[in-house]
């Protein structure tokens, strides 16, 4: 499964579980659990894919409040958009139908 599709699927599952926003390491952990892997997604591939998804309008991101970060470095918080949810559902349908899942952002 292309990494971008995997990220969107993880983002949608986190959102449906009540976690509206996520950060890079949290996402890497969720994806590791979902694919039952031992290794976390590499920094380079993860953040490049997140940037691409944001560029496609499937994710949005903002910096965490400094106050919320307390003494640790502030995180970049991502949120899946409505367009992203539709793209993830379409990718899942493609996969179920035996087609290669593709990310084609639909109308906003």
């Amino acid at each position: 499964m292309p990494l971008e599709v995997e990220i969107l699927a993880a983002a949608v599952s986190m959102r449906r579980a009540g976690q509206a926003t996520f950060h890079g390491f949290g996402l890497a952990q969720t994806m590791r659990e979902q694919r039952e892997s031992r290794s976390l997604t590499a920094h380079g591939t993860l953040y490049k894919a997140l940037g691409r998804l944001e560029g496609l309008g499937l994710l949005t991101s903002t910096w965490e409040d400094v106050a919320a970060a307390e003494s640790r470095p502030r995180r970049r918080l991502y949120e899946v958009t409505g367009q992203g949810i539709r793209a993830a559902d379409q990718a899942r349908a493609d996969q179920a139908a035996g087609r290669l899942p593709r990310l084609a952002p639909g109308p906003a």
Binding site: G24, F25, S39, H43, G44, R72, R74, R75
Partner: protein, 142 residues
Amino acid sequence: MRPERATELVTRWVRCYTRRLPDPVADRRIDEITADLYDHVAHERADGTSDRRIALSVLSRMARGLVADVSWRNSVRSWKEDLMQSLVAKLAAALALAALGVAAMVYGGNDDAPGLVLIGLLIVVGAFVLGGRAIYRRLGRP
């Protein structure tokens, strides 16, 4: 190796490939990876993972992402372009060219080949022109 040493190496690498990028782009990538590294180490320590395994995990994430880092860097701003614009790179190229010219002149002189001496001389002159032009342009830049 301690996790702090591994995170320091990753941070250095991020600072290296974000050099010469626009500040907002570079700062975002550096801050995002810094937060990720902090969360990674804190999470693994809370799980009781040994320092050595945490460090290996951090370095493994960096190593597996190197190609994507370079590709991302080049998509934002070409590394080759930066290298071509670098004064040090231009001076090094001029120096290498001058050395080649001197070698051609020496070999041409020893083998009694005036053509090769002339080519060597032209290469040396060309190298000086290139080096001088690079310095002049750099000094003329505001």
